[in-house]
Symmetry: C2
Subunit: 290 residues, 2 copies
């Protein structure tokens, strides 16, 4: 292990890795990417590895945590070239370390058929923000302002299978800045993986509040002309957060330059709607179940 | 989470689980089971879940560690019944808790085809033995005695696909007793997953010693008449360990009643052989690469 990760006492190669535990609360998540489900056949393996790692790192960011270490598995189609398997391992390790998250263990196995989908999992372990504040989905309160980082929609290019769903930057630094700056006033947070509408509805449900989003306020990526696409596409991996009333965020994160846009508010009640002109649309229906 | 696991501050349901880190060094491992590779189609899902959990728990046992918490994924064939997915989750949780290892997170996703193999992964996190001694594969020394727990061979019933490979008991209690009793004199340990010969060769290689096993000493399960089967079958999940010369183990573990059998010794040199009558056979060739 590089000296950059002194908490890794023993990396891959034995029955288990050995790691010094973090001082604060430990955050744990696991996610998977499956060929033809989360990425198209022919996607460069380096981008497949990147997405597998980034999805789990994004879950850490969504709780305000910092990466500590990770483990990965690869279930390879029969006949997968050894050189490709090696390249995949190199890429997984590289991307994990890119986000300061040493890869301490893993397992590769071969699936029975050549037609079986390449399937990767990444388990990521993080440590809570130094303040000890862990931002869940359940902390939103009536009166909270709802913000989103960056811009939404169009993350998957239907023509090529490529796009931001493969190259997004997990919002670790924005999350850290938010907690450094606003502390406990950051009440709830989630990363937008299944669509703004659906993920906002998850915060509303977990927190016992009603969330009202303004369609016209939703920041859209270049080329996304319809707010419905921005609200429903998913795979943005932007942060959606609820901050205390009166806690006004600047228009951009001073650390990274990412946009911070107010898209709505939390109220007394339940459910999540997107307000468009005179209409209120059910937000939970807008999105995907990945 | 049950009150039995007070270190689990927040279980599944948010972006991450939140866990109080263990006091001692943290052990981490991940393993996977793939349909038609690690279990036969039609295997009861409860036994599939059991095997997925037990394999990772066995890796903790092989380092002398105690389970702390775990995460799991399931990649399900298209069309997998929701009731089966629910049953699988219940079984994974049940078996993890059976070994005192709360399941704190997970992910289910669907694979593109109905013919895709059901694939489970379990990431298990443990805490080192209270003495702080972590038993690796690399600590064997010339003169060490080599022991194995239980009996070997015939774990997979070719007629039914069932057998001990689905129902083995990870040797957590035996490992704890060994460390409680012999401490640092337990020099090296591994769980026998790929065959006694191959796994003994791994200890020899990692430790820089030569290991000589006696074919006639290898304990065989009922119905296993050939020592070659016992040495090469794999999927036994028994512990293979090297203890300091003069450190004589009793014939059975007083805590669990598991047999403890001396099967060989470590010498100066390299490689691993099985001695049968006047012959020395290369042990590394006996086994499987799961």
């Amino acid at each position: 292990m590089p000296a950059a990760f002194p908490h890794v006492l023993m990396g891959p190669g034995d029955d288990c890795a050995v790691v010094r535990p973090p001082g604060g609360a430990m955050l744990l998540t696991v996610d998977q990417v499956i060929e033809r489900r989360h990425f198209a056949p022919g996607t460069p393996l380096d981008l497949v590895a990147r997405k597998a790692v980034a999805r789990s790192i994004s879950d850490l960011a969504a709780m305000g945590a910092t990466p500590w270490c990770a483990l990965a598995t690869g279930a390879l189609p029969a006949g997968f070239a050894q050189s490709d398997a090696d390249a995949l391992c190199v890429s997984i390790k590289k991307w994990a370390e890119h986000w300061n998250c040493p890869m301490v263990g893993g397992d590769l196995a071969t699936m029975p058929d050549a037609a079986s989908p390449l399937t990767l999992t990444v388990t990521a372990i993080g440590v809570a923000h130094p303040s000890g504040h862990v931002v869940t989905r359940a902390g939103a309160k009536p009166g909270d302002q709802v913000y989103v980082t960056g811009a939404l929609g169009g993350s998957f290019d239907r023509a090529t299978g490529l796009g931001r769903h493969l190259t997004f930057e997990p919002r670790l630094r924005e999350a850290a800045w938010l907690l450094d700056t606003f502390g406990e006033r950051v009440h709830a947070m989630i990363d937008v993986s299944d669509g703004l509408g659906r993920d906002a509805a998850r915060i509303a449900s977990a927190s016992g509040v009603r969330i009202e989003l303004q369609a016209s306020a939703i920041p859209r990526n270049a080329g996304v002309s319809d707010w419905r696409v921005a609200a429903g596409d998913g795979e943005d991996y932007e942060l959606l957060l609820c901050v205390e009333a009166g806690c006004d965020l600047p228009p951009i994160c001073p650390v990274t330059g990412a946009a911070l846009t107010r898209v709505g508010a939390a109220r007394v009640g339940s459910g999540c709607v997107i307000c468009h002109q005179a209409e209120e649309l059910d937000a939970a229906a807008m999105g995907w179940d990945h």
